[in-house]
């Protein structure tokens, strides 16, 4: 199968099917409703499950129930919808269920707007729901990458028995780009008989399974929290993904940006290079775990005078950039919100304004 032109939202829906996920529960919200519309047609064709829930709150628990049976399941939503699902996300993280969430982010807070944004960085990477937990968060910068991340997300969710979130800004969902699908995933969730409530008759082992999140005993809850922490630490060791751009140059500024914003930054870096000014970029592909060490290393390079976090938010990822750089280089933030996106010229001017030596 060659490349076809496809809208991001529809490509995400198709990618899930090709990843072997035939269960989809969702609630309509702009700018991602096309996923539900697409899958309302495609899931029945594939013999899968499509259900439009009565609210994102309910959808969150439909995912819990389905994943608790050991079945592959996913949803798509956008910012206010993810807020409503955040209760379930906390329970899903605690019960260690492999669910994939796609958040096609729009501007906030509140109803905000329907234009692209990266304002849900904190929500995705630092919590959202209550309690000590983390999602594994991936951030695509193109429709093609969104497809690839969806294909990767399911096996990762199953490997760690942890919810995975794909954080795409509204442009990723709404934009049409050429996309190529890889072969269908043939892997199945393994070892689900050890924990899933798939019915005792389904399993060889005859004791029953429980999917629960209540630990009334302080010691038992702490043990659970420590086990979760060990899992998140393992993700930090094994799952950090990022891309570099112009990193082998004698750059004077290091840009950190992700998603749509990183594409603008690439153009800006090319434009600066043509003028004889070198800047480099690290583009996190996973936001949790965050590429802490690669950023620290790149910021420590001789001649690097500034690290700038470009974001479609009022300064969220910059906090992770600061803790990565650990004072080895000045860290700045530049961003826009409400659906506004910095132009390459604006990026160039900003970068140069932070570089002091002539």
């Amino acid at each position: 199968m060659g490349k076809i032109l496809m809208k991001g939202n529809e490509a995400i829906g198709e990618a899930a099917i090709r990843a072997g996920c035939l269960n989809y529960f969702a609630y309509p919200i702009t700018p991602q409703s096309e996923v539900a519309e697409y899958l309302s047609r495609r899931m029945p064709e594939e013999g899968g499950v499509f259900l439009q829930g009565e609210s994102e709150v309910a959808v969150g628990y439909m995912l819990f129930g389905a994943a608790g049976c050991g079945e592959r399941v996913f949803t798509t939503s956008s910012s206010p919808g993810i807020s409503l699902m955040s209760e379930a996300i906390s329970y899903i993280a605690s019960a260690e269920l492999p669910v994939v969430f796609v958040n096609i982010v729009r501007g906030g807070p509140g109803l905000g707007g329907i234009l692209p944004s990266q304002a849900d960085y904190f929500q995705a990477t630092k919590g959202g729901g209550h309690g000590d937990y983390h999602l594994l968060v991936m951030a695509p910068a193109s429709v093609q990458e969104a497809v690839e991340m969806v294909m990767t997300a399911f096996p990762l969710a199953e490997k760690y028995r942890n919810p995975v979130m794909i954080l795409g800004d509204g442009l990723i969902g709404q934009m049409m780009e050429p996309v190529e699908f890889s072969d269908r995933l043939t892997s199945k969730p393994t070892n689900k008989d050890d924990w899933a409530t798939n019915g005792m008759d389904t399993r060889k082992r005859k004791d029953r399974n429980l999917v629960k999140t209540l630990f009334l005993d302080a010691g038992q809850l702490e043990e659970h929290n420590l086990a979760l922490k060990a899992k998140y630490d393992r993700m930090k060791q094994e799952e950090v993904r990022y891309e570099t751009y112009n990193i082998d140059s004698d750059y004077r500024a290091l840009i950190v940006s992700y998603g749509t914003m990183s594409r603008v930054c690439k153009t800006a870096i090319d434009n600066m290079k043509a003028e004889g000014f070198e800047a480099a970029m690290i583009r996190p592909q996973t936001l949790f775990p965050f590429p802490v060490l690669p950023i620290r290393q790149a910021a420590s390079k001789d001649g690097c005078e500034a690290v700038i976090s470009f974001e479609l938010s009022m300064g969220q990822m910059v906090e992770d950039v600061e803790r990565s750089v650990q004072g080895k280089c000045p860290v700045y933030w530049h961003g826009k919100a409400g659906g506004e996106i910095p132009t390459p010229e604006e990026v160039v001017d900003t970068v140069k304004s932070f570089v002091k030596t002539k």
């Binding site: 529960f25 009565e54 819990f64 608790g68 409530t197 629960k212």
Partner: protein, 245 residues
């Protein structure tokens, strides 16, 4: 000598944490007996609520999931949609189902989800210490209605069986109780019917139980049964409110 009465296989050996005079124990047993008699323990998945029955899974011997407050019907929907062969039931109290989970139960019933709900109505939030519920009777004193439920302020109690029966989608909706042996016999038939409808793939089914909470009502077990019969049954009449056809 042949055993004529024994613990159902679906029920565990663990002593329950329920208070003396609480009806959860009897209702658990009815569910377990029905599961044994229908031979569905190996396909059964129960969903425990938030409330006194949050630990219900300790007393059953088959697969269980534990819900967030009120969300059990959404979880049952998720399970049943992806595994229609499993036999799924939610076990919920009145704070859980009639207050915070009202949205989930109405929509699950209206979609005709093929699972069963056991709804235990004792007019108060038991686990959190006896606060007012949507089902608290007019004038009934609770820890958050110390002067008695003022219906001018918070409205009349919600009759769940009647409310769900107003939906057009086919369903089996009944209200039962276990306050006396004669009621228990009838209630078991209703529970069995509810599960049978599910097994036949026919409809959503809900059995509401008029129940007691001696501890939070401040009554002895005997007084509580008497109070429930005298005060609850007139407002929450027993019977079958909706049949699938």
């Amino acid at each position: 000598m042949a055993k004529t009465y024994q613990k159902p296989e679906a029920l565990s050996d663990q002593p329950t944490h329920y208070c003396p005079g609480c009806t959860h124990g009897i209702i658990h047993r009815l569910v377990a007996e029905v599961i044994d008699e229908l031979g569905i323990r190996g396909q059964a998945v129960g969903i425990a609520p938030v409330g006194c029955a949050v630990l219900a899974y300790n007393y059953f011997t088959f697969d269980f999931q534990e819900a967030a407050h009120g969300r059990a019907p959404a979880m049952a929907t998720g399970i049943k949609r992806v595994r229609p062969d499993l036999i799924v039931f939610t076990y919920q109290g009145d704070g859980d189902l009639a207050s915070i989970g009202m949205g989930e139960i109405i929509h699950a019933a209206n979609r005709g989800e093929k699972f069963t709900t056991i709804f235990v109505n004792n007019t108060v939030y038991g686990m959190t210490g006896g606060q007012m519920a949507p089902t608290t009777l007019p004038g009934q004193r609770t820890t958050t209605s110390p002067g008695g439920r003022n219906v001018q302020d918070v409205g009349m109690p919600i009759k769940i069986a009647e409310l769900l029966s107003a939906l057009q989608t086919p369903a089996y909706i009944t209200r039962q109780t276990v306050l006396k042996p004669k009621y228990i016999v009838r209630a078991k038939k209703a529970v069995k019917k509810a599960f049978q409808y599910q097994m036949d793939g026919r409809c959503f089914s809900l059995v509401e139980f008029v129940s007691t909470c001696p501890t939070n009502w401040g009554k002895t077990p005997v007084e509580a049964i008497q109070w429930a019969e005298e005060n609850m049954l007139p407002y929450y009449p027993l019977g079958e409110f909706k049949l699938p056809d």
